[in-house]
Symmetry: D2
Subunit: 133 residues, 4 copies
């Protein structure tokens, strides 16, 4: 049976500012991807943007979930947190490439691509914290 009170990890294992930066980057990426998806949906060229829309919706969902799970992380089940953050880094990387391929045509796609890269890098930095290894 689990202990009565949660055991919090030491600050050395999981730096508060690294975690906070990752949560924030994921939430901002979710916002940017949702905005990009919605603007593409309203674009006259929507038929050419279907993959971009779907990838942005995927990335928004994954980032929002990763942010919530990371926010709840207290050192228990590090393999759970690790799997989620790794998946989020991969999804952000794919979406960054997809959005970057449209960045010449649409400023919103460039913004989404930037947000995806920032979130991907924040996830990778998070994965280097001892609490997640």
């Amino acid at each position: 049976m689990q202990p009565m009170t949660p055991m919090y990890r030491d600050e050395e294992d999981l730096r508060h500012d690294v975690r906070a930066a990752c949560v924030r980057a994921c939430n901002l990426c979710a916002e940017a991807c949702n905005s990009c998806a919605d603007a593409c949906l309203g674009d006259p060229a929507v038929a050419e943007l279907v993959i971009c829309i779907r990838t942005n919706l995927d990335c928004a969902d994954m980032c929002a979930t990763a942010a919530e799970i990371l926010d709840r992380f207290r050192g228990y089940h590090p393999e759970l947190a690790r799997a989620v953050i790794e998946a989020c880094a991969t999804v952000c990387d794919v979406c960054a490439q997809e959005s970057r391929s449209q960045a010449d045509r649409f400023r919103r796609c460039e913004i989404a691509a930037d947000a995806c890269e920032t979130a991907r890098d924040a996830c990778r930095q998070m994965l280097a914290e001892p609490a997640l290894v």
Copy 2:
């Protein structure tokens, strides 16, 4: 630039019923985990169940996201879908163990544990489909 019309994968690469079973198992797991978390929250022994609640909330979020992303999957960016389904299988496996450890005390935890195992196995079967390899 991406093609004008989405290219759908061949039925041999991604069997419709395997995908549908995985989406459904993830959605049912999300429901079971949300119910378990909420019932534990209302339990007089809530202070002993905090890790169980957090793990169930994590699993509910991950499963709901995986189901949405898998539902949108059309063969593009298989590395994105693969990363998400792998993470979902891991989260379900952790949550199954956590819930199983409470299954003697609470019937709802047993139900959640069963739903987690079903979703985990459906994710693993999905990962064997050629479209995701």
Copy 3:
């Protein structure tokens, strides 16, 4: 300060089966609307279906939120639950009409329209329960 243990409402105020039916109808509606939105997104006629897609995404979000909130409802703050279920009934009604207008062309829109009407009616029945008045 709030009491130490949650006070559950009497079964006469909130019939368990009415609530369960409403939660289920909202979740099924969310699934149907997400599927409809995604299929419309992949349709060659996507440019004509933008309003239908947006309305379906709105309805899916509102229904999923209503289901979660209703699932957590224990008799406290009935004005909160009432506001959410009323909004859900309105959103379902609007989406039912929007989807019905496409039902001749697309079977998926007909399915979504049916699910919206079922969820709308379940919400209205829920609103007649004494616990929510």
Copy 4:
């Protein structure tokens, strides 16, 4: 049948900055409420905080949904958007009172109460825009 291209509302009917402020306030409220719920969940006094946790989870869900729906709003179906924003204002108001009642004990509850009031007021301002009347 709906027109081929979406009809965007005039800027006079729906001021861009009023909408953007409302979306932002709702998203920040969702973050604050999720954080408050999670911190309460990890508090030794968790058993006294169950209603506060549930209300915060409700408010976080409603605000996130309202933000997404408002972000997608293009002047169509104003009754849908109106119902959602009205519900969000009510939920924020209830959660503000609930969180305020704990603000003496916990700084996080005070932060959540402030965020709820800001989001409630932003929703009410939004409801005064002609596009939503």
